[in-house]
Symmetry: C2
Subunit: 331 residues, 2 copies
Amino acid sequence: MSSSFAICYDRHGPPFEVLHKKKLPLAPLKPGEVRLKMLMTSVNPSDLGMISGTYGRLKTVFPAVAGREGIGEVVELGPDVQDIQEGDWVAIPDAVGTWQTHPTALAAGLFKVPKDISLEQLTLGLINPPTAWRLLHDFVDLEPGSWVIQNAGNSAVGQCVVSLCKHLGLKSISTVRDLAFKPMLDECGADVVVLANSDLHKNIAEITGGEPVHLALNSVGGESAIHLVRALSQGGMHVTFGAMTGDLVRFPTRSLIFDDIKLCGFWLDHWIRTHSREEVQFMYDKVFTFMKTDVLKVAIESVYPLEDALAVLAKMAAQRGKRFGKILFRC
Amino acid sequence: MSSSFAICYDRHGPPFEVLHKKKLPLAPLKPGEVRLKMLMTSVNPSDLGMISGTYGRLKTVFPAVAGREGIGEVVELGPDVQDIQEGDWVAIPDAVGTWQTHPTALAAGLFKVPKDISLEQLTLGLINPPTAWRLLHDFVDLEPGSWVIQNAGNSAVGQCVVSLCKHLGLKSISTVRDLAFKPMLDECGADVVVLANSDLHKNIAEITGGEPVHLALNSVGGESAIHLVRALSQGGMHVTFGAMTGDLVRFPTRSLIFDDIKLCGFWLDHWIRTHSREEVQFMYDKVFTFMKTDVLKVAIESVYPLEDALAVLAKMAAQRGKRFGKILFRC
């Protein structure tokens, strides 16, 4: 373990300014702790928000290790550890920081994961698929055949929403900024993929054959968020779970008053903190079952060595909005 | 009844272009109908929205009679009328159009009103006070001592919210664009009246002594709506029931996701259409009881003859945002 290192930051700021690779000594394990060999970790937009200081919950102890989603193998048990064995694969709580090779963590906060799913899919199963699952379950009672609309259909959550809609017998409308993404979404089981534009609400009745749209999922913000507000039917629910733009818009007064549209947000981080370990485990188990049975498969662009993280992030920034698959780091 | 007339419009458009005074013949009464002598009617912002065509539900038969809130006396019964007598005072459904001297209406749609409240307060009891009542009851369970925040505190609904908060043991924060309104709101029982500004959210903890604010009532829109979003505590509810400005704003992504703020709308018109006659009657009875016991008193600026309506509306347009009391028409 001489190559133990982490991608760290000593203060919040632009990722390319504050991130650096740092050798971390292997600390002795305290009671209840285990040492992990990180196997794989992912890059999520919220990683960058946490580093830059715009995310909703920030690290306050520095140096902080970046990264929020990863799978590790238990390689050493500290005193008084129960229910976890050496060799187990586990999901690592995001407070730990997953962009490192040898994290330590409290065993009680770990979730064992199955070994019969590809490591790549396992790694990508902890944030985006659970988000998609909750978005489709926690806000509106959707009867089979109901329509759901989302923007950023090509995002990882977007793909999962499409796949889960297909599985649940729901019908999805995904807006994208580039129809080049349509074939990939079609492969996920998309019902309708359309270019994002301001005429969306005028075309909705034609798209759905006059059926109502009760749920809209927004991870873009700005005008795109408002287009979804307008596309909803009377009494519809608009859930925001991400943002890519800060366009100025008109406050949607008419939709709120006359169309009884409701706007709320979803934050998986908050959901996990306010639900029991059993409920979180149940959700992960659902996702892993979907992965095993090919209901869900998150698209992957590339897997890079973690030590190349800074160069990879620079490349990703240049590709913004043009990628379809996720980026992973092998540790 | 030779002076029977109405303030009408033949198409939707700017009120000063489309409104005109029109002599209306007294139609023979059909079964179930009664003839009313209109006693008093009010001017609400939504009257102008209905005339100009921006309101959520528009008249489709022209000439249409303007006005949505008024009290009439029953002067003639058609065949098969039950439960209503000549001489009764009644609230008139807004579909009828209240800016007229002698409307006819289906008796079954009328609500009898008490005669021991001033005609002015009775007339103003049908839209703004019920709106304030519903805003404080239908969205958040407010324990005594809870804080409520609103913009446009000087509006008629704003005054009612302040008075009802006082009565219900709630604490109100009202933002106003001019502190000249503060003494009048203090008289309604205001806890806090502050100038509307973008630092509101920074001062909230000091205002409430660190107590949370769970309900925000927005009838302004634009930046003011966003200031209320930011002033809310975690999980707070933001209810929009009116608009005065179309300022461009940033979609409140962070508040939705990280602060779990919920945005919805309230439209009394829709509430009435989706609730039983008994529920509507119960609400009016509440309001009239509050008026009798001086819990609620809507401020009045002036009462004008209905025949001067066009000149009065022109004067009101010039005073926009500077009035405190309501305008009434004597019929």
